[in-house]
């Protein structure tokens, strides 16, 4: 019964990965002087925008979001508003964490915030799409044995991969090689991106190979 879901997931992930790829390649072809290292902030905005647009569209079309009880316009608007608020809060949260990790407080605030936006659009946005602006559900999914559907497991895997990727991306920063990709935040955002892509591949594969062991509590 899960094959359908896994297939949907795999195709969603394919679309997401393709859009990330296009967001990197298309501007490089169309915009003169665009490069991942050189105009890194531009690349970050481009990729985050694309990921936001594509995931919102795809998840809305798929209809994963838990069905809401009310269908009034006001309620939907409030949900939208809350989602935006959470998005912003999550950006600020990531920014704070990155500063705590040692990023300069004032000097490169724009770079740090762009990196926070990228992380948010790779992690928090998926949560918003799948779970909706519902903190209780988030806490449930991200505590141990809290996954209640295939999508929850998928969310756990991709979010963990992205964050670990960004974490590992910080390793080359102290090396004195003077490479363009060692500039803050290039290596971290590349790490996050690679982690995200890995997560996109790994999540359906892992779920596919563990489908016998996976048992979910009924809602």
């Amino acid at each position: 019964m899960w094959d359908h879901e896994i297939r949907a997931m795999a195709s969603t992930h394919c679309i997401l990965a393709a859009s990330v790829f296009m967001a990197t390649v298309l501007p490089a072809v169309l915009v003169p002087g665009f490069s991942v290292y050189g105009t890194h902030l531009l690349w970050i905005y481009c990729v985050s925008g694309t990921v936001v647009a594509v995931s919102v569209a795809v998840f809305w079309l798929l209809g994963i979001t838990p069905p809401t009880k009310k269908h009034t316009v006001g309620y939907k608007l409030s949900r939208l508003f809350r989602s935006c608020l959470y998005f912003l809060l999550s950006c600020i949260f990531f920014h704070t964490v990155v500063v705590l990790y040692g990023a300069p407080l004032i000097d490169s605030a724009l770079e740090t915030f762009s990196f926070a936006v990228l992380l948010t659009s790779l992690t928090t946005l998926r949560c918003l799409c799948v779970l909706g602006p519902n903190v209780q559900a988030w806490i449930r999914v991200f505590s141990r044995h809290g996954a209640m559907s295939v999508w929850d497991t998928c969310l756990q895997i991709t979010v963990a991969c992205t964050l670990v990727g960004a974490w590992i991306g910080a390793f080359p920063l102290p090396l004195d090689w003077d490479r363009p990709w060692q500039v803050w935040p290039v290596s971290c955002s590349l790490g996050a991106m690679i982690g995200f892509l890995t997560g996109l591949v790994a999540a359906p594969a892992w779920i596919h190979y563990h489908r016998k062991q996976l048992t979910y509590k009924c809602k």
Partner: protein, 966 residues
Amino acid sequence: MKVRSSVFASFILIFEGIGIALFLRGFFPVPVKSSFSSKNRLSDLPAEPLTGSSPNSTRLPQPLFKRVVIMLVDALREDFVFGPDGRRYLPYTRHIVERGSSHSFVAKARPPTVTMPRIKALTTGSIPGFIDVVMNLNSPALLEDNLIWQAKTAGKRMIFYGDDTWVRLFPKHFMEYDGTTSFFVSDYTEVDNNVTRHLDSTLKRDDWDILILHYLGLDHIGHISGPHSSLIQPKLLEMDDILKKIHSALISKEAEGSLPYLLVLCGDHGMSETGSHGGSSEPEVNTPLVLISPAFKRKVEMEKPGVVEQVDLTPTLALGLGLPISQNNVGRVIPGVLEESSLRDQLRFLHLNGYQLSCLLKDSMQGYDKDAGFEQFRVAEKAHGNWMKLYLEGNTSEVLSNVGKKVLKQYLEALAAMSSALGKQLGKYDMYSMIAGMVFVFQLLLVLLLAMPEALSGGGVVDLPVLSSLLSLPFYLLCLLLASVHVLVCTSAESSCYFCSLSWGLVFAAVAFSSAMFCTLVSMMTRHLTPGPKISGKVPFRSSEWSLSELDVLLLAGTLGHTLSLAASSFVEEEHQTWYFLLNTLCLAVFQDVCRKYFREQRDPSDGEEHTPLSKDCYTSAHQKTNVCSEKWLALATPPFTLICCRLLRSLNQTGVQWAHLPDVGHWLNSSEHRTVLSFLAAFCLVLIYLLVQRRCSWVSKVALALGLLGVYSYRAAVGNVSFPWQHSSRTMSKGTVEARFVYVFVLGILFTGTKDLLRSQIITADAKLKSRGLWEIYSGLVLLVSLLFRAHNLPVLCCCMLIQTLMAQFIWKKLHYDAAQTTIMHYWFGQAFFYFQGNSNNIATIDISVGFVGLESYVEAPAIFLTALSTYAGPLLWACHLVCYLSSERDQSPVAVGHGCYCLALLRSVPAAAYIVLITVLRYHLFIWSVFSPKLLYESMHLLLTAGVCLFFNTMDHSHSSSKA
């Protein structure tokens, strides 16, 4: 043989310390030094060789130069003068090099390319080894035989302007001096103007013989913006103008008939492509050496400059000025400088240089008479004697000059050979001792690792099959084998080897120990591998091991990752970044654990529509509810608070290499405008420290602690770092000896009370409360001592340390039931991070030596070393002490917790230490071996030594535990 895991761990650590000491002895070459502590005198000089009759005069030939001006430009790279840009940078100098009467060379500096060792090399002619630099950190004056001393003894009048390192190295040597500190790297004009302002008046006068100028500006520019910055050219043009000024002044003073002048332009070290120095890359090592004197032949075109050693300048200058060559000199005279003097004088100069080198060779090498250079020198000396005989007989034929040239050539060859033999002595590793040390350390580490399941089991007892292995046949065979290997290696080794020079008893003990360890290792391994009756006891352990939480994964991965990161020089330089990064991640992981604990409990009622016992309690008793809830919020706030603390501390002291130049809060606080802020901060921190520490002390120690902390503040006020509110005018600064001794009295008092309580709890009554109080008192004594030693701007580090320890112990470690191993690893990580928070780095230069003088009138070796080590390792030490207090004071801790903690600490320390000595052996020819890896090796071994001490302390605690149980 069954031993408790704490005893086992400290035993292993102590022997690892011995192994590492052996390794260090092999790794750091002993500096070549003559065994006499006296200095060369004119009267000691050898006679001119003469065959047949009794030796000729011992007089020196006429000096070549009357006046010498040495213009030393810090960080002057060779290509600034001789490179394609030289004509743009230094037009006048370049003109002199190409067309004037000058000699130019590329002088190779030996690493470490740092100013002080370079100045020592230039003046003594020896090559200060790395260990020499470390050993002489605290003795400012240069006591070795050196050129400046010789010149002073010979009555030369010297003037010095420039870097005040010279003034510290040669106090009372200069007739006139003005030192500029190189502390403010951002200033590159004032430092040089301070030197140049004296120049005009000095050059007009006639009352000096040697003038030394040391310009720092170029080095500072390099540190700020690198060798390709736009600031370089104006600075070099300025230097060029100064050289021109000196040169024209010297020409105008030049009188007919008197001896000529000599103007030397040199650099102490170069500058890497990033503008720093200290390593051994080509641009750092190659410095220009330009000698200008009317005594030299005029050049007609640009010649490729020859390559000499930097130390070659020393004998050249000594002979040129008619001074004895300093005793430890390994340089050889530059033959080009002598060219214009008579053949007899030339031979005499070379003979003097050769004689000095051969004396040094005799002193520092065992088989010196087999050395090729030494033999060549003997031959040349004999030929020289024959030549002298011919010469004195009045022979003036062609034959004489031909023979003389041959002797000259022989001398030069002999000098080159002896000099390189001495130089090699410096750069050679004693591989056999290194390998022996490494084998020791690794055997011990493996034993430690193999004992892990037993040491961390509930019993905390390790079963070492020592006796059975001592009585086994393989043990004796191994002993024989190792002894024969030792004999074989030692008889075939060409160079001196420390391990071979040890006495037979010691070597045999080492061999027996090593083979016993090996046998133990093998029997332990077989016990682990063969399925025996023990397997049933081991299965639950295995299964519990597999369910690792995220935190465990992080702790293991972090420890291993840090060990691996030591292989990269940048990661060693920036090790603080690794620890800050890991610590942050740890705090986030702990935060996640806390959240999980408190929020899941909250979620349950809403989820399953039933109340957990905890929330029921919340309803039943309002008081308890507020208690629980406030505790929950405090627990939740602790990790973020720790994170913020760490972030603030991190910006207190910038360390490392790449970002060390960035402004930090510590400098801001130390500037004199912000003294009020610093005073408030220091007072606040001291009060907070008092509040945090006094909780668990007896009232006697409370009073002592309060008075002691007051004493700390008044010491800082006396030294002039902080000020009392009532004193506004800047008082005369004192050394604060009285105040510091006042504090020492209280430190000793608190330590004494603590020890007394501990002893009472162990011997008279088995009172756990008394014991934990005693421990805490010892800890608070340590805190008081550290707060005295820490600089005023570092007091927040201590304060945050106390605060984090208190909060973590109260809300995290106890509440989340972390076991002894996890707690130990966290303590170790925090200790490491705090080591860097207080401003340390893996560079020797950041050790604060002034701590050694706190409360002492003059330098006394033992207390100075003790205090310096204590203040440097204050962070790790305080955390380790807190670990002892925490583990042994907990009521609900299992009785073996102390043993587990001790074992984990030993393991955590010996894994990186053992890995590091392998890495450094592999990387021993790396470019940065002296500048980056060797200081780290010293730090690692010192840390290992300290951890061994802490483990012994653990041991006494563990012992008392078992005795109180019995």
